[in-house]
């Protein structure tokens, strides 16, 4: 087991890459990212799944090759397969996805069931963040974000930059606060308790980039803007989707403390050169945020806190422009 994988696709008007790295080779709890595109309908689905290692640390069984697998490991892969199945084998009604996953997990529970579970333990727990998109010949692409937990989906465009289109299942939704505090999740996919698959719908002018990522990518940076900087910095030095995928894998292992997976779909670009050219205008914007952080002397926490807050205050409005609203109680 290598501990990392990169897959890519380049077609007319459609570019895609998925990146997957493991902290401990062979034991990563992130599933390989999902990407399926149907050319006839112009629809596709892209998603990431992060098995919850703490709550799902219990053993789930042994693989055919003899490797022990945790509940978290199994849950992320299983849920990935279920989302793919929902896309390929159903009418793709978003409201049905929850039932599709929940029913299958309860069935699967029998095989991976443990006798004693504490309140902190969950059966087959995982996060999911997926984007179901449709782009015909129109100038806009429709999308629906489907998520549970703290993995995220984004829309990236040349005008407003990276915009989060999911809302973490945590008490706070402030991206900077989440970076510094890592609060517990209030909802995730699992087999033994009720959970919710949130749905947020939108449309975005094409060309645009859709991104899904687990917290291994966005949870170990200094400011929310730095994640966009990682995406654009690696894009800038790449010539193809394959190179961009590899650059993203190289970059993330340098700063993350977790398994990390990320999937990208670029719609409406004539090729990689146009993608890189169109997004180059954003590079200067996010580079300024990164430069301010880089200029702080090591150990100067007071300045770091102030600069970080200032960066977030300036970055936040566009970043949250498409963020769904917390549902009324």
């Amino acid at each position: 087991m290598t501990g990392r994988g990169v897959a890519w696709a380049e077609s007319e008007w459609l570019l895609a890459a998925s990146v997957w790295t493991e902290k401990k080779p062979g034991r990563g709890e992130d599933a390989e990212p999902l990407f399926v595109h149907q050319f006839s309908s112009g629809e596709g689905v892209v998603g990431v799944f992060d098995g919850a290692g703490g709550a799902g640390a219990a053993a789930a069984g042994t693989s055919a090759s003899g490797a022990e697998r945790t509940q978290a490991w199994l849950a992320s892969r299983f849920t990935r397969a279920l989302v793919e199945d929902w896309f390929v084998g159903t009418d793709r009604v978003h409201e049905d996805l929850h039932e599709h996953i929940a029913t299958a997990l309860v069935k699967a529970r029998g095989t991976a069931r443990r006798k004693i579970l504490g309140t902190m333990r969950r059966e087959l727990p995982t996060t999911m963040a997926a984007l179901h998109y449709r782009w015909g010949d129109d100038e806009t692409a429709e999308w629906a974000a489907l998520w549970a937990g703290d993995s995220r989906a984004y829309v990236l465009d040349a005008q407003d930059g990276l915009q989060q289109v999911t809302r973490d299942d945590t008490e706070s939704s402030d991206a900077l606060e989440l970076l510094t505090q890592d609060p517990p999740m209030t909802n995730m996919v699992c087999a033994d308790r009720p959970f919710e698959v949130h749905i947020a719908r939108g449309s975005t002018k094409v060309p645009c980039v859709l991104v899904c990522a687990t917290d291994g990518y966005f949870g170990y940076v200094t400011t929310p803007a730095e994640f966009e900087d990682v995406l654009l910095r690696t894009l800038e030095r790449s010539e193809t989707m394959q190179q961009w995928g590899n650059a993203l894998a190289d970059e993330v292992v340098g700063y993350t403390g977790d398994d990390a997976s990320l999937a990208i779909v670029a719609l409406g670009f004539t090729g990689f050169s146009q993608l890189r050219h169109d997004l180059s205008g954003r590079t200067a914007v996010v580079r300024e945020h990164a430069a301010q952080i880089a200029a702080i002397a090591p150990g100067d926490l007071e300045t770091l806190t102030a600069v970080r807050a200032d960066s977030w205050a300036r970055y936040r409005e566009d970043y949250e422009r498409l963020m769904p609203v917390k549902e009324p109680r």
Binding site: E142, M323, V325
Partner: protein, 337 residues
Amino acid sequence: MIGDIDTYDPIVEEIFPRAVRLLDRLESPSMDTALVLEPMRGDPVLVSAGEKVPGAVLGRYRRAARVTLRVVQCRFVEDDIPTADPGFLQRAEVRFTCQVTDPVEIVRSGIRDMTRAVQPSLAGIMSDVLSEFDVSEYNTALKTLKRELEVLRGRGGIALGNFHVKLLNKSEYYDHTRDMRIESMRRRDMRGVVDGGREELIAQHLVKHDGDPTSLLAAEAEAVDRDKDRMIEMVRISTDEDADPVEMREARRHVFGKIFGDPAMLKPPERKRLSRRDVIASRRDGGPAEVTAGGEAEPVEPREPREVAPPPVPEPPPAPEKRVSRLRGSAAERRGR
């Protein structure tokens, strides 16, 4: 009162379908919309993306509405929000995201302008919060307002969130506060300079002029010259026979004061303002009216020529005590006697 506004219509399409729709069947909604069908009788039917439309060709529907489910950023500017200071009204710009959570409810309530639909309740919260705070409590007011808005999630099929509030009159407040602070700081600093006496003032002057004493020395020399000139002028006046006696007396006082350092000499004597009766008495005595310093002479009424018997030859009156007239020109008159 609402000012500038960004809004949207949540009902993107409204159709009144014919009874039979062979060629224009009702289509399933797109991914970011929901279709609400209002039958002739009974409850509305909600159709989500991917779901088949019941009775797409033959269904009897009074109305069909497509409702957007997108997250949309809205904005409005609220003018004339009261604060704790009755003389200061606040303006605030509120940005927030808005999302339809119940398309049926939106169609039922007929909302076609989302921002205007939610503005009254948001404006009410802003008014309640800001009226508690003085203009000087800008930061606390803003924090409280954001906290109150964050709690608000929406209702009636609408969810609200991601609030960004900007108080637009803050620059006025900041300008005022900054000016006050700068003035206060200057006063505090200058008080130290003044308390330090002459040496501190000289030091301050040198600081302000990069240690160059030229202008200070020049100013001092100029002051000495002015003083000398004035002294010479005073001496001249005090010895000039043609000078106005008043000026002469003042000049003497000044010169004596300078030479002998007697402050009493410098101080003009207290002078009693003459009452009208004193003036009349003085006139009766034949003396000219006297005026108070800085005042005008009481007018001396011309004496009526009276026909009287030739007066007896009087004894020569005693020489009147020589009085210094304070009326201009009287000195020359006296000289002519």
